[in-house]
């Protein structure tokens, strides 16, 4: 295991509804919907920005603040 303890990590850090609410209440969080843009445009979580998974790259993520926690979400857990 590396010094940061992440070397053997099997999953990204998962959060549930209550934890998301806490992060949003704290304010300083980047919320990112990774679904196709049309689905974002129709309906999204307030404050979220759209970066579809297919366009997730150096250019698209340049709008994200690296000093803030990033929360990504899609439609469901399937």
């Amino acid at each position: 295991m590396g010094a940061d303890g992440d070397e053997g990590k099997e999953m990204p850090t998962e959060i549930r509804f209550a934890q998301l609410q806490e992060l949003l209440a704290d304010g300083d969080v980047e919320l990112v919907e990774v679904l196709p843009a049309r689905e974002y445009e129709e309906e999204h979580i307030p404050g979220a920005i759209s970066i579809p998974l297919k366009s997730l790259g150096a250019t698209s993520v340049s709008i994200l603040d690296r000093h803030k926690p990033i929360v990504v979400y899609c439609w469901d857990d399937a």
């Binding site: 309906e43 998974l53 803030k68 990033i70 899609c74």
Partner: protein
Amino acid sequence: MSPRAAWQLEAMGFVDVYDYVDGKVDWMAHGSRTEGPGPHYALLGEVADRSAVLTCRLGDRVGDVKDELESASHDYCVVLNNRDIVLGRLREKDVKGEPDEPVERVMEPGPTTVRPTESAKGLLERMRKRNVPAVIVTTKRGRLLGVATRRALERLVSE
């Protein structure tokens, strides 16, 4: 999809990345506000009402449940364990036994339940077809969220 996005962001050097694994459908099922012109995808969870269901616990006396069923406008009582997991249902017809018996002796085990992320419109159609007045809503792990009535779903879908 979101786990891959989280992995990719971490690979790109972001260090504080979280995956809201249950996603937008979970947010909406909690009845939380959304932004956007829609169409809004109405979900069952938006009308699941915890206060609209009578509950009892394993070990409770049948006689006590009978009294509650008679004094309230409920057709049944949902039987929970101490973690709010739905284990059974006690209908009025089931409570004719010995009043000191524990509810688990006479309950109907494993009643049908539905998830809050289910489409309100699709479920309403099925309830109409089968003349079901209400459904028990639980998390996927079986924790009771409430009951959704056909009337509440009809209101939601017509909004």
